[in-house]
Symmetry: none
Subunit: 231 residues, 2 copies
DNA sequence: TATAAATCTTAAGAAAGTCTTAAGATTTAT
DNA sequence: ATAAATCTTAAGACTTTCTTAAGATTTATA
């Protein structure tokens, strides 16, 4: 099952690192940012499920960032950590945070709050979404939608084609022999040399390469095997 | 035009009355209960959007009530008020509360948290607007009314159909195998390939698709599974 | 450049997955 | 208790995909 990602946004490296340890222990993915601008960037680029945001940060403070985030993204939950004046808290909450914790905080308590907020992703059988896109150059394999995009265009793959691409893209740059590919994708031993793999490779190339005869992504290494080129 | 209703569940009348004043000032509807059993009764009879629940109460304590409520109702948010031991807090959170406040609390802070939680019903002041509609393209699944609308028209679904659509729409764009769908919706392992899923899928298509043979919403990915298309 | 080995291409039949239908079983409502 | 609605199962039709094999092409090497 896919991981839930937490964006830790704090300019105090010690705190950020400590949080990372706790969060990873709870099996969350962790992305770090040291100011609001970085946070916005991370949000644009990655799938984030929860933000732990410090109010006091250089560049763009946590409050402003929170407001900006709320303007466009509704999904992630935001928790401000701050000095303990009540007014601060209230202001923060009204500007879009779902909860807050005052520093210094009890890590266990914080984790409990994180879990509590994360519950919205896991209730009633919904499956959390994550960083599920394998990328190299113009190739993007979405392992959730089971879709491949080549330069942004969706390319339809059959189950076997998907299996081959998935295997190779999980190991970008690594060359695998036909036998290895067969065994991994079909999950059964390959007694003879399997021409069927070649046929699938060719079909994949037809779908993803501009010039299948001079492939950019799905390369052959003569006498050895195939790989997805690293870009 | 409905008001958002808060169920105040505390055996201490002074506290309950004070909360009522603050809540009414913020234009929430207030229902009071002095123990867990009363709370459950109120929940069954009225539309409640948020519960302020005391941990210590006669008859049935707040924790037990919280657990019971969570078993059947997913909608209301619960906040426990308790003595300040950390373990209490954490236990409470893990048993289903969304947030908690320790006594004695600052009423302004509490109101801020109430508002924060109420935000899920949408931020048009304290007027309830449903935030529980899953949408994509012309499909709208109202998880509260348990209704599906296709281009605004209500489509009646059976329980199983609803379960399938709910699961898929909670994960729009995500492809699930027949076995995965079966396991999530039926909540039991799928030993053999379950044709029953196909049949339900077909019936759903008949209801929601203009042309079931070329579905716009409920797509099949050959050899892999089904998904609700993201629009 | 000739040769062998590996890969590529093609097309047709085989296999696998999905769709449809209908009938009987089960559940729900009255 | 009965009727109505819904669910499950099974079988065959249908569609898409996979595999195979044979010949063509490409590459490495002498």
């Amino acid at each position: 099952m896919d991981k839930l990602n937490v964006l830790v946004c704090d300019d105090d490296k010690a705190i950020a690192d400590a949080l990372e340890i706790y969060l990873k222990y709870e099996n969350y993915g962790v992305i770090k940012a040291t100011n609001g601008i970085q946070a916005l960037k991370a949000l644009a680029e990655q799938e984030i499920h929860l933000i732990l945001m410090d109010i006091m940060m250089p560049e763009m403070d946590g409050l402003s960032a929170t407001i900006k985030i709320r303007e466009e993204k509704n999904i992630p939950i935001i928790m401000l950590s701050a000095k303990s004046e009540d007014t601060d808290k209230i202001t923060g909450l009204n500007f879009g945070a779902d909860d807050y914790v005052t520093k210094p905080f009890n890590p266990l308590e914080l984790m409990a709050r994180v879990k509590s907020q994360m519950r919205r992703y896991t209730s009633l059988g919904s499956i959390a979404v994550k960083n599920n896109i394998l990328k190299t150059g113009g190739l993007e394999l979405d392992t959730e939608a089971k879709e491949l995009r080549v330069d942004g265009e969706i390319v339809k793959l059959t189950a076997t084609e998907y299996g081959i691409i998935l295997f190779l893209m999980k190991n970008i740059g690594h060359v695998f022999s036909i036998a290895q590919i067969y065994e991994h994708v079909w999950d059964e031993p390959s007694y003879s040399v399997e021409n069927t793999v070649s046929v699938h490779i060719r079909r994949i190339r037809e779908k993803i390469e501009i010039n299948p005869k001079d492939p950019k992504y799905l390369k052959v290494v003569w006498g050895i095997g195939y790989k997805i080129e690293k870009y």
